[in-house]
Amino acid sequence: MPVAIPDVKKTWTNAINVVTLGATREEGGTRTSKVTVGGATSLSFHHFEGTMPHPPAIAMEVWDIAPTDWPQILTEPFADVLNDPGLWAKKCVEQYGAELICLRLMGCDPIRGNRGPQEAVQAVKRVLASVGVPLIIWGTGNDEKDNEIFPAVAEAAAGENCLLGTITEDNYKTLVAVCTAYKHKLIAESPCDVNIAKQVNILATDMGFKPEDIVIYPTSAALGYGLEYVYSIMERARLAALRGDKMLSQPMICDIGIETWGVKEAKASEQELPEWGEQKERAPLWEATTAYIYLLTGADLLVLRHPRAVASVRQAIQQLMGAGGG
């Protein structure tokens, strides 16, 4: 006799906020494409429970200075453009299909180039002029420096509806104020802590910033380096959001490249660790695998570095969305 399988489908009361990045000429910007993420009414790719109107999107990372500490496997695809963020961004979009560019202002980092606001603005303008996709502009992580450069950067990109970050529990006022003034979206960062993720959103919205204009960055960890913990934090945030928590209903961004390319599984050459196989296969695979896992727990925006990882993650997203989504 057949046994009836109980219906375990969940119904949720809330949807993830929809966030659109980029603005076209008609909207006061100069972008030729926009990216919309969020809107899910169930856990990611649970097409049997709800809808996922917007697939996760991939941003490729570009720096305002040529990186000196990237392994050769990673610099190789960009070797001819690393000194020009505009050309680098153009290559990412035209050759590797990046949907967004994540410009990381590493040159402003006090321990790297210690560049000032005007140089940061130049890099931003250069990228805006070179590509038509929306921009994520990521600061140095040094509070003082970020507060110095972001007012100028936000003004230079006014009207372009960029995603700027990050704000944290201890440093949010300047960036919230300039994003409000120049109408950009915000990345709210929390250190693997769902309580602080919620807290940062409350702090930003207390200043009058709209919760619908925030993207959560729960910090990311590479495969093998605490990924399970971050996974569970993101899952908890997403479950709370679907149950109605408006202070956790934001889309989530994962900064995959910077985490993955800092661990030895990606960095070590086969000469150093021959038993781990070829680095050119292993490293992009490590980056892509880290990304796959975050996709499953609710990542809406992924920042990636290697073109092979990008291609492979894009294919995974298409396959996962194909099962009833889209």
């Binding site: 309580n195 919620k198 409350i202 207390d206 928590d245 202070m247």
Partner: protein, 267 residues
């Protein structure tokens, strides 16, 4: 926790006068203040001021104009409830709604269940009948089960049924407090998923000195027992703070240092 703001009631002097004079301002002021304070629903009740359906429609329109908050249509008279639902459909659009309330008396229960089904409304069922209010646990649970069964049969899903165990004043009926709490625990087991369990909170402190403290202490105990809705004074800041804190401890809301603010931003 579903907080239903009790203040728009003709029994309060200012609201009663406003209804009589058709003065929108004091009513809309309460609608806004209660919404900001964290009300999920606003109860609207003419009190003894009027039995005229047109007045009820005016009251509902007045509130709907001021805030997007859903309403609880509060009257014991069937024709007023019907008029209220009709007005709410016109002015409130597709917002959720609760009918407050029916008893377990079949002559009342059946038509109100029908209205709830017809208007896609929630329904608060107070566990009393022609024999009056129950004094013990068993009678409360028996009447709760009866209301739930009749509502389910008529097609009202559990998430639209609110059982009210009848809170009684601690000053005059001290033995009833723990009976109500036990009835709440048993209501929660009536079905899976369970119905909502709603209490008329302000009764607990009737004529007592420490009204605010008694009220919030009881509400937290009721929440721990399974109560998830209360008609109450949402303007009592400490009461809403206690609810927000109880929600954390019951792991229904995620902690953040500013959770008291987050609770008020949840709508």
């Amino acid at each position: 926790m579903i907080l239903i703001g009790e203040r728009i009631n003709g029994s309060f002097k200012d609201v009663g006068a406003a209804i009589k004079e058709r003065n929108k301002e004091p009513i809309q002021d309460w609608a806004k203040k209660q919404t900001e304070a964290g009300a999920d629903y606003l109860d609207v009740n003419l009190g003894a001021v009027s039995k005229n359906p047109a007045d009820f429609a005016w009251l509902i329109q007045t509130v709907c104009e001021a805030v997007p908050t859903p309403l609880s249509i509060d009257s014991l008279k069937l024709d007023l409830v019907r008029a209220g639902l009709e007005a709410y459909r016109e002015f409130g659009g597709r917002r959720p709604v609760i009918i407050n309330s029916t008893t377990a008396e079949e002559s009342k229960l059946m038509p109100l269940v029908e209205l709830a089904v017809q208007y896609n409304s929630g329904l608060i069922g107070v566990v009393m009948d022609e024999r009056g209010s129950p004094q013990d646990i068993d009678r409360r649970v028996e009447l709760g089960a009866k209301i739930f069964a009749i509502a389910s049969e008529a097609g009202l899903p559990p998430e639209r049924v609110y059982l009210d165990p009848i809170v009684m004043p601690v000053k005059f009926m001290q033995e009833q407090g723990k009976n109500v709490l036990e009835a709440i625990r048993q209501f929660a087991m009536i079905s899976d998923p369970p119905p909502h369990i709603s209490i008329g909170l302000s009764n607990i402190c009737s004529k007592a000195q420490e009204r605010s403290l008694i009220t919030r202490t009881f509400l937290v105990m009721a929440m721990a027992a399974g109560c998830d809705a209360a008609i109450c004074n949402v303007m009592d800041t400490e009461l809403v703070n206690a609810v927000a804190t109880a929600e954390l401890i019951l792991n229904k809301e995620i902690y953040s240092d500013s959770y008291l603010k987050a609770y008020r931003k949840r709508g």
